[in-house]
Amino acid sequence: MSPAIDHSLQDPPQLPREPLIEKNAVITEAPWVRRTLTAVALLFLCGFLLLPLVAVFVEALRNGVETYFEALKDPDALAAIELTLIAAAIAVPLNLVFGVSAAWAITKFEFRGKSLLVSLIDLPFSVSPVVAGLIYVLIFGSHGWAGPWLSEHGIKVLFSTPGIVLATVFVTFPFIARELIPLMTEQGTDDEQAALSLGATGWQTFWRVTLPNIKWGLLYGVLLCNARAMGEFGAVSVVSGHIRGQTNTMPLHVEILYNEYQFSAAFAVASLLAMLALLTLGIKSWLEWRHSDELSATRRH
């Protein structure tokens, strides 16, 4: 005997994409309250965020487009841009590898000292960037622990590219790991166990199952990490030595130009940084939009 309907074969119900219950029907406020609050928020946003951003571009272009591009074509500016890109190009992949391994270790395994590792990952967030820079001065400076030995062997860390990269890596340490840990905790280890039981090796499991599961979170973390790596000022300022054309990153270059009253040049370089921020923000919103779509799709049922 077989019943007419096998319920286990039925498709999921087709629910409308809009919420079934009117949004916040109970807790909504009177129109004038809503409008006032929105207006206050918008005004604040314009005054404190949008206006300065516009000012950067206005100041940069005050003396015409030609001066703007000339400031960017200045050899010192080009060197600063190059150094910033190099520092980010080294720091971001390093932290990518570190962040993924740390998140993997913390979320997929049990071991002693796990909570210590989690707090250590947060350290760069809680320490002032200046202190972060000073740590490297203490270690690699001429009177530091490793400084004398390194200079004997002709390796220069402080006041050169390695120092800047180190400081950048330190400051951007938590971005990717912090992004991934909650995501991977929520996902658990069932998928990995399933892959292993189906005969996949650990490596195959990582590439085919774990990585696709975290890819949006990972991209998001990389973006934030990159933005910070390029924009970092404090820690880098301490270890760089401000040698023009050699150890100046973009934020440091902006400061020097500003202190020398070369306002439009300073704002020109600053506008590049601002554009980077806008680009990051744009990609981030796009990712969030993609990500949330994916999340709600998996959670809908």
Binding site: S8, L9, D11, P12, T189, Q193, A195, L196, S197, L198
Partner: protein, 375 residues
């Protein structure tokens, strides 16, 4: 593939999850591991799969000890409670995963994989859904995909962890019947974990009842239900009335009653009498039985549930009677009835009246968290 399990011990921190488990499973059997949360049933399943390693003991598949082999070398098909489908892959890619990750000459050709996927989709009756993603499937469909994925590697044994736990009642019932049919068709040795006694009794060839990391009884559904080996099994497989009594010269007498019933028990002494609610009947006032007063009558479908208080001790008993039973119909609270057992089980009088089970832990929590959840 027949499976022998010998002396398996496994502890999480100080909590013994498995405490000396021995079990023989014949090739092609459908076995249920049944027990409350924390009884060790899931740990046993995961130990067979190689997702946990035992502290001591042997597990052999077809005579070969595989206790130290990792899960990927055991060739087991494991279906997770929440299916663990890869959500970034289509249904077809999910099913093909186990074949796609094989290396070199072990990997079938693309065409062969595709053909196998379509065979399996036919088998689980989901042909045409190969391009969908797991998020576009219902719970029942996901369970079928998870099963097809596990079967794709032609496993030596199929292991299912609470296979119907997350499903609606109707879906669960249909899927249960389908799984039995599938097992009869494919003949894979299958072990599944459940805390639902009805599921275990209906689906399995043999039921393994577990409690506190030990096996209480192994038997087919008739044996475990009709001849429970221990008070725990009696209690866990359905509801039960426990009444005090005494056995003397193969005759059983309920405390506070003069009537006697024949007993197979050779030993004399104080006993607990275990009677299921549907093994009690209402009898004429003249027949041997226990006097009681009805306190509550509930009608549940074709069943009439009557709660009554014994006249002698005031002890509450439960009866389940057919709605066709003339003596049971139209009973009201306050009515005096006479109750007699049809069958019963006898166990030596225990100091604690009711068999106790371990406090609940979060089912299917990762092993390392189970102990924490308990505290």
């Amino acid at each position: 593939m027949n499976i022998q399990i010998r002396g398996i011990h496994k502890a999480f921190a100080s909590f013994p999850a498995l405490d000396g488990v021995n079990l023989d499973i014949e090739s092609g059997e459908l076995i249920a591991l049944l027990g409350p949360s924390g009884s060790g049933k899931t740990t046993l399943l995961r130990t067979i799969a190689g997702l946990e390693f035992p502290d001591a003991g042997e597990i052999s598949f077809g005579g070969e000890n595989i206790a130290s082999r990792p899960v990927r070398e055991r060739g087991v098909g494991f279906v997770f409670q929440h299916y663990a489908l890869f959500k970034h892959m289509t249904v077809a890619d999910n099913i093909a995963f186990g074949l796609n990750v094989r290396k070199g000459s072990a990997r079938p050709s693309k065409e062969a994989i595709q053909q196998r996927v379509h065979e399996l989709l036919d088998l689980v009756q989901l042909s045409g859904l190969d391009k969908r993603y797991p998020s576009q499937l219902s719970g029942g469909q996901r369970q079928r995909v998870a099963l097809a994925r596990a079967l794709a590697i032609d496993p030596k044994v199929l292991l299912l962890d609470e296979p119907f736990g997350a499903l609606d009642a109707k879906v669960r019932k249909d899927l249960r019947r389908w799984l039995r049919e599938l097992h009869d068709k494919t003949g894979y040795t299958t072990i599944f974990v459940t805390h639902d006694q009805e599921e275990a009794l209906e689906l399995a060839d043999r039921v393994v009842v577990m409690n506190r990391g030990r096996i209480e009884q192994v038997g087919n559904n008739q044996q475990v239900y009709e001849q429970p080996a221990t008070p725990f099994v009696f209690d866990f497989l359905g509801s039960v009335n426990i009444l005090p009594g005494e056995v003397k010269d193969r005759q059983l007498r309920f405390d506070g009653s003069d009537d006697v019933w024949d007993s197979e028990s050779k030993e004399s002494g104080l006993v607990d009498i275990y009677v299921r609610p549907h093994d009690l009947q209402i009898v004429d006032a003249a027949a041997p039985g226990l006097d009681a007063t009805v306190t509550l009558v509930q009608r549940a479908g074709a069943l009439i549930r009557i709660s009554a208080a014994l006249a002698t001790s005031g002890e509450r008993i439960e009866l389940e009677l057919s709605h066709l039973d003339t003596l049971a119909r139209s009973r009201q609270p306050g009515d005096a009835i006479r109750v007699a057992p049809i069958t019963f089980g006898l166990f030596p009088r225990a100091p604690h009246r009711r068999p106790t089970t371990l406090p609940d832990v979060v089912p299917n929590a990762p092993a390392e968290n189970r102990e924490r959840a308990r505290n």
